[in-house]
């Protein structure tokens, strides 16, 4: 059996063990509803349910999964007692639910005594109290920006831009607030560039509403592996790092493009030269820019200039 078939089988078994108890509790449900709810195509759903209906053990024929799908696309099912309750939570599932709940509880506007807190208390009673703390300290402007996103309120901000190394004044249509690698960001439509941009909230100095309302628009919030920064990706550089020093890039979204045993090659999307200067100084002597050519000596130049400007007599 190849790996792909094995993983597909795993997904199908796991999904079946979620669908059967749910269906058992209801007795019947429409294929359309189940397809939507469990994010599975109707064809796959029918195939899996029909397979389940063929299951059973010779000595106890009366305990087969009994399935009938009617002309209106409604599945009627009688499920043996084995599958009337869902499988217990795995350790990773329990962990994900706990961190999700605790994260949401730490966000602006959450109710410490509301339904989420009660759900968490029940989860902890089942999974054990673990002394886990999520510190999601937010810059002061975060709560106002979350409210502005929800209210579709336009805002005016003073923002320190690393890319242009200056304080800027901008009018933004706030779309989403997100945290990544310990920092908080605002995703917004930016009047200066006429584009969607990501802003570090800790670099927003002033923020006030203009009183104007913006049109609603769906946006895609970047996941931890995507690239983002305040002025969008313009260029890609390649860094060479000793394998043992992998940690120097862990604060940055990078893509691994190879290794030669002792060294890793990673790609990093670059917003601007000013931003990259800051990054290579933080990465230090172990990270070498190997491409493109014009940035090979950027780190040395940036370090020499900083030494000359700030530490000339050391």
């Amino acid at each position: 059996m190849n790996a792909r078939r094995a993983s597909t089988l795993k997904v199908r078994v796991r999904r079946l063990l979620v669908i059967l108890p749910w269906l058992a509790e209801r007795g019947s449900a429409s294929l359309a509803e189940m397809s939507e709810r469990f994010q599975i195509s109707e064809a796959d759903l029918v195939a899996d349910l029909e397979q389940a209906a063929m299951c059973g053990l010779p000595p106890f024929l009366d305990e087969l999964v009994d399935l009938y799908i009617d002309d209106d696309g409604v599945a009627h099912i009688d499920v043996p007692r084995f599958f009337t309750r869902p499988l217990r939570l795995t350790a990773p599932e329990g962990f994900s639910l706990l961190i999700a709940g605790r994260t949401a509880l730490a966000l602006p506007g959450s109710d410490p005594n509301g339904p989420l807190a009660r759900a968490l208390a029940k989860l902890e009673a089942v999974l054990g109290s673990d002394g886990m703390v999520l510190d999601l300290a937010q810059p002061p402007a975060t709560a106002d920006l979350v409210a502005a996103v929800d209210d579709l309120a336009e805002v005016r901000v003073s923002y320190w831009s690393a890319s242009s190394d200056e304080m800027t004044e901008r009018t933004l249509a706030p779309r989403a607030v997100f945290a990544d690698r310990g920092r908080w960001y605002l995703l917004a439509d930016d009047d200066r560039s006429g584009d969607e941009r990501t802003f570090r909230i800790d670099r927003i100095l002033r923020c006030e509403r203009t009183g104007r309302r913006v049109e609603a628009r769906d946006v895609q919030v970047p996941s931890g592996d995507d690239w983002f920064d305040d002025l969008g990706a313009a260029d890609v550089i390649t860094l060479r790092i000793p394998t043992t020093e992998r940690w120097v890039v862990e604060r940055f979204p990078v893509r691994s493009v190879g290794d030669d045993g002792d060294h890793l090659l990673v790609e990093l999307a670059v917003a601007s030269e000013a931003w990259l200067r800051e990054v290579v100084l933080r990465l230090g002597p172990h990270a070498e820019v190997v491409a493109p050519d014009e940035w090979r000596d950027l780190a040395a130049r940036a370090a020499a200039e900083l030494l000359a400007a700030r530490y000339p007599t050391d």
Partner: protein, 312 residues
């Protein structure tokens, strides 16, 4: 056409849930007639794959080595009480709140959990937190919840640790606990643990009133790295216009003095030199370490080594 793999695995699951006594592989093959290959090696291979798959999705298959006339043979069963999700009765509003919470971290594993609790597809959320994932985390959390001692390798040393708690701070996970070898409480970055975390049969008691927040310094620039270090502060001069931005980050209490040109000298913790240096260099030419001399020298040496590395 023979039975499908899905059918075979489901039947194996049903059989092991139904049986009162543990079954050997031979008995399993006899019960699931026509499902498994006849030849012993192929049978063993197919069964082991199915068993691994079921365990992987969380099915607690128990094994027992038999005695008597079946001496040495391994038998299998599933304890219904351990298989089923029990004792977690959520009200509708609680389930909905948890589902919204999982949407904020956009976790696929969390979605699986939500489904088991009777929830639906995750909605989209206007606030999203990308939380770092690491395979050691669920193991460490369980050990912390069950008060079991764990073993892992960290900085080339094999450690035996009572995990008192976990902390997510500035995007990184830390585990804090009593290190048996060192005889004191230490903190470790979870993503720098080398290899897998082992769980021992040993249990521990967490000290009365232990508070993870208090045990960890509030600022990552204060965090040690598996070793203890006395807290140190540095004086950092920040020029305008960044001084105003740094002021919102550090607060008025960190201000040591203000210059006429709008620059500000801040007191900044620097126990963790890596975190401190990264923070200062992130401010570029707008910031300068003023004191103490050794911390300033550290930054200068770092910058010189960059110049040397590229020009060599």
């Amino acid at each position: 056409m023979g039975p499908s793999a899905l059918e075979r695995v489901t039947n194996l699951l049903t059989l092991l849930l139904e049986t009162r006594v543990p079954l050997t592989l031979k008995q399993i093959a006899n019960e699931l007639v026509g499902m498994y290959p006849d030849k012993p090696v192929a049978l063993r291979g197919a069964f082991e794959r199915d068993k691994a798959l079921l365990r992987d999705i969380g099915v607690p298959i128990e094994t027992e080595v038999l005695g008597g006339d079946q001496a040495g043979e391994t038998a299998y069963r599933i304890d219904r009480d351990r298989y089923e999700l029990r004792g977690l009765q959520l009200d509708d509003d609680e389930r909905h709140a948890l589902q919204m919470a999982v949407a904020t971290i956009r976790s696929e594993t969390g979605q699986e959990g939500v489904w088991k609790l009777g929830g639906s597809v995750l909605p989209t959320s206007s606030v999203v937190a990308n939380v770092a994932q690491h395979e050691a985390l669920p193991v460490l959390r369980n050990a912390s919840g069950e008060r079991t001692t764990v073993t892992f390798r960290y900085r080339d040393v094999d450690r035996r640790v009572d995990p008192y708690g976990l902390l997510l701070r500035e995007g990184f996970w830390y585990v804090i606990g009593h290190d048996h070898g060192r005889g004191e409480v230490r903190t470790y970055r979870v993503d720098r643990i080398e290899g897998a975390v082992g769980v021992t049969a040993e249990t521990f008691r967490r000290p009365e009133g232990f508070d993870v927040r208090k045990a960890f310094p509030a600022d990552s620039k204060l965090l040690g790295d598996g070793e203890s270090g006395a807290p140190t502060d540095a004086e950092v001069a920040v020029g305008p216009p960044l001084a105003a931005v740094v002021l919102t980050e550090l607060g008025d209490a960190a201000v040591l003095r203000r210059g006429d040109d709008g620059s500000v000298v801040f007191r900044v913790p620097c126990t963790n030199r890596d975190a401190f240096r990264s923070w200062v260099l992130g401010l570029g030419q707008h910031a300068e370490v003023v004191a103490p001399a050794d911390v300033r020298a550290d930054v200068v040496a770092w910058l010189r080594s960059i110049v040397a590395a590229v020009t060599s």
